[in-house]
Symmetry: C3
Subunit: 342 residues, 3 copies
C-alpha cells in the first residue's frame, strides 16, 4: 500500500513521498525497506535517525526523520490502525461447521461463524457476525451479542449475558461457580448454589484462562470497554466499571466494586467487599485490603499511597543501616551516661 493511501486510511498527515510502498509494521531497530515503523514513546526518539524503515508514524511535533512520515496527535492509535490495515489477523473459515453441536432451539444470527466441536446450548442466542472458535461451549439461555470473538476452549455457562464486540481469549471461563460455602456447626462446608447472573457489557476483552465467577444472588458485572488480561480471577458478585484495565494474574475477591478507569497492574490482589474509586491505580504485586478513594495511586501489601510506599521500600533496604545507627547511638549515649555518673 502506498503511504498516501495509508495516510488517508489512518487519518494522518503525510510528510514526504506518498508514493513509497509499505507492507508491514516493524520496530525501529528491526525495520528495513518496505517496513513502516513508529515512534510512540519519546524515549526512543534518538533511534529514529538511524532507522532503515521506508516510513514512520510519528507525533505531530516530532523532529524530521530520514524517511517519509505519517504525523498524528496519537501515534499509538495510528499504529494500532496501521497493523489492522497492513497485517489483519487470519480469519477462520466462515460458516457453521457441520461438526458443531447446536441445539435446535438456539438462535444464530446472520454471518455467524461456528467452528468444529463448538457446543451451543438450548435457547442460546448468538448475534450477527460473531465468531465462535472450535471447542467453545456456550450454555443454555445465554446471550452473546454481535461481532464477538469467542476463542477456542472458552466456557460460557448457562443464563449469562455477553454484549457486543466482546473478545474472549482461549480457555477463559465465564460463569464458574463462585467460591461460596456455608460453614456447618461441625466445621464442614455446605455449597451455596451459585445461580446468579453475569453481565459483560460491550467492547470488553477477557484474557486466556481468566475466570469470571457467577454469584449465588445478584450478578457479577464487567463494564463497557474494560480489558482483562490472562489468568485473572474475578470472583462472585464483583462489579467492574467502564474502561478499566486488569493486568495478568490479578485477582478480585467477592462482592468488591471497582470504579471506571481503574488500573490493576500484574499480580495484584483486591480483597472482598471493598469499594475502589474511579481512576484508582494499583502497582504490580500489591494487595488492597481496604477501600481506596477515587484517583488514588497505591502500592504495597497492604497497599498504601504510592509515595509512602516508595519511601518505606527504600528504607526497608536500609534497615540494617538504621539498626547500626541505633546501636551506635546507644554506645555513645552509654559513654556519656557513664561519664556523667562518675
Amino acid at each position: 500500500m502506498t503511504l498516501a493511501e495509508l495516510a488517508v486510511r489512518l487519518g494522518c498527515r503525510l510528510q514526504g513521498d506518498g508514493a513509497v510502498e509499505v507492507f508491514r509494521v516493524a520496530a525501529i531497530d528491526d525495520a528495513g525497506p518496505g517496513d513502516l515503523t513508529f515512534l510512540s514513546n519519546p524515549k526512543y526518539a534518538s533511534r529514529l535517525p538511524s532507522t532503515r524503515a521506508s516510513a514512520a508514524i510519528v507525533h505531530d511535533d516530532s523532529a524530521d526523520a530520514p524517511c517519509p512520515t505519517l504525523r498524528t496527535r496519537n501515534p499509538y492509535v495510528a499504529l494500532a490502525n496501521a497493523i489492522g490495515v497492513l497485517t489483519p489477523p487470519r480469519q477462520p473459515a466462515s460458516g457453521i461447521s457441520p461438526l458443531a453441536s447446536i441445539d435446535p432451539t438456539a438462535s444464530v444470527g446472520p454471518d455467524v461463524t461456528i467452528g468444529p466441536f463448538a457446543v451451543i446450548g438450548a435457547s442460546a442466542r448468538i448475534g450477527a457476525r460473531t465468531v465462535v472458535h472450535p471447542h467453545a461451549v456456550i450454555g443454555a439461555e445465554t446471550t452473546v451479542g454481535e461481532a464477538c470473538v469467542i476463542h477456542a476452549h472458552v466456557s460460557i455457562r448457562d443464563g449469562l449475558a455477553i454484549g457486543n464486540r466482546v473478545v474472549i481469549q482461549d480457555a477463559a471461563v465465564i460463569g464458574s461457580d463462585g467460591f461460596g460455602f456455608a460453614r456447618r456447626d461441625d466445621g464442614t462446608h455446605q455449597k451455596i448454589p451459585q445461580v446468579g447472573g453475569i453481565i459483560i457489557e460491550d467492547d470488553v476483552e477477557i484474557g486466556a484462562h481468566t475466570a469470571v465467577d457467577r454469584p449465588a444472588i445478584g450478578v457479577t458485572r464487567i463494564g463497557a470497554g474494560t480489558k482483562i488480561d490472562n489468568l485473572v480471577q474475578v470472583a462472585h458478585g464483583v462489579k467492574i466499571g467502564r474502561h478499566a484495565l486488569l493486568a495478568a494474574q490479578s485477582g478480585i475477591a467477592g462482592s468488591t466494586t471497582l470504579g471506571d478507569h481503574v488500573i490493576l497492574a500484574g499480580q495484584t490482589g483486591v480483597a472482598g467487599h471493598l469499594k475502589i474509586g474511579d481512576g484508582v491505580k494499583v502497582n504490580a504485586k500489591s494487595a488492597v485490603f481496604s477501600d481506596v478513594r477515587a484517583g488514588a495511586h497505591v502500592a504495597g501489601v497492604p497497599a498504601v499511597d504510592v509515595e509512602t510506599w516508595r519511601k518505606a521500600a527504600v528504607l526497608a533496604e536500609r534497615l540494617p543501616a538504621l539498626r547500626r545507627a541505633i546501636a551506635d547511638l546507644e554506645a555513645r549515649l552509654r559513654v556519656i551516661e557513664t561519664r556523667l555518673m562518675t
Copy 2:
C-alpha cells in the same frame, strides 16, 4: 412456595404469617415483594428494619423484623438450602450424548449424564448419577465416583481416583505432570516421568483453571470435604487434609502437607517439603517458607505470626518517621558530646 412450607424444608422456626409466598432469595437492599432475604452477618442488622422483602432468614436471637422470619442457629446454612430449594441450578439434558466418545471398555453407572464431545477413556469407571459436561476428558483407567459434577473442558488424566460428590469446575486439570526435572551435569534438564497417582476424596470441590499435578512416585491427595477455588496450583506429591479451604490463585509447592481445616486466603503461596498443621490460617498474599504449627495464624512474606506481621506492617509505613527520629537523636547527642568535650 409458602413460608410455612419453606420453614419445614429448611428446618427453621417460623415467626409471623406462614401463608406469605416467596419466589427467590435477594440481598437486604435489593429485595422486594416476593423475595426472601437473609441476615447472616450482624454487621448488616441495622438494614433489616427497612427491607422490602416478604420474609427473612435470621438468627434465633435476632431482633424482630418488619416481615415474617425464619429463625435458625445457622442462618448461612439455611440461606444455602433456601437458594437450592427456590432457584436450583439448571440441569443439563440427561442421558448420554451420541456425540460423546466413550471407550467400549469403560464402565458407566446408572443415571449418568454425558455431554457432547466428552471423552471417556479405556477401562474408566463413572459412578451413578454423575454428570460429565461437554468436552470433559476422562483418562484411561480413571475412576470417578457417584453424583459428581465434571464441568466443561475439564481434563482428568489416566489412572486417577476421584471420590463421590466431587465437583470440578470448568477447565480444571487433574493429573498434569509434576514439574520434576533432573539437572544433568551440563546444566540441561531431564524430565522425570510423572507416573504417580492422585486421590481426590469425597465432597471435594475444585475451581476453574486449577491444576492438580501427579507426582513421579507416590500420590497427590486431597482430603474429604476440602474446597479449592480457581487458578490454584497443587503441585506433585502435595497432601491436603480434610475440610480445608484454598482461595483463588493460591499455590502449594511439591511434597508439602497441609492439615485438616487449613485456610489459605487468596494469592498465598506455600513452599515445598513443608508441614502445615491442622487449622492453620494464612492471610492473603502471604508466602509460607517454613513449617507452621497447628492452629497458628500467619501473614507476610515470609509468613510470621499475624500479630507480629501486623505490628511490623504498621511500622513499615512509619519507617520514614523512625529515620527522622534517629537523625534527631544523633543531632542532639552531637550537641551534648561537643559540650562535654569542651
Copy 3:
C-alpha cells in the same frame, strides 16, 4: 527386571547381588521388597540403613547400604531414567482418531497419534511421532515438530512454530493475543491487532494453564530446553533463553528478555521491558522491577540482592524492637539534656 540389567540400562555401577529383581521405584520410607529406592539428597542419608527396599540408586561416594546399590555420579538423573524404564507413562491408543477434524491441506507426519475431537487447521504441519491428545486445537499454518506431546485441551493458535520434543500440558494456550491497547484521547482503549509470531524451540516443556501471548510485532520466543510450570504468564514479545526454569504462577510482562539458565521460583513477577541476565535466580513471591545482571540472586518486592533482602526481612520482624530502642534512647537523652541544662 534384574538389577544387573538395570545397571546396564542406566549406566550405573552395580554393587551387590545383580540377580535381585525390582519392579517399581519408591521413596526410602515407603519402599518394600521389589522396590528400587534412591538417595539423591544427602539430607536423607540417615534413613538409608533402615530402608526395606530391594535396591537403591546412590551416589558414587555414598556409604554402604543394607541392599545392593546402583552407583552413579548423578543419582537424580539415574532416578529419572529408572522410572522411565520400570514404569513408563501410559501411551494413548496410536493412530489418528476418525473423530478428529483434520483439514485436508494439513500435513501429518508418519507415526503421529491424534485423539478424538482434536482440530488441525489448514496448512498446519505435524511432525513424525508427535502425539496430539483429544481436544487439542492446532491453528492454520502452525508447525509442530517431531516427537512432541500436545495434551488435551491445548490451544495453539495459527501461524506459530513449535520445535521438536516439545511437551505441552493440558489446557495451555500458545498464541493468545498480547494485552496491547492504544489509549484513545477520550480514555477508551483500541485493540492493537496481535499478529506477531511465537517460536518455541526444541525440548521445551509448558505447564497446564500456562499462557504464551503473541505480540503485535515481532515474536515471542522460548529458548531450547526451557521448562515452564503451570499457570504461568508469558506476555507478548517476551524472549526467554535456553534451559531456564519458570515455576508455577510466575509471570513475565511484555517485551522482557530472560537469559539462559534463569530460574524464577513460584509466584514471582518480572515487569515489562527489562533485561534479566544469564543464570539469574529470583526467589519465590518476589517481583523484579529493574534489570538484573547475570548471575545475580535476588528476592523481595522490589527484588534486591538476596543477602540484602534476608537482612531486611529479619529486621522487618524486629521493627517493634527497633522502635522501642529509639524510644528508650530518647528518654535517656532527655534525662541527660535536662541534667546538663540545669
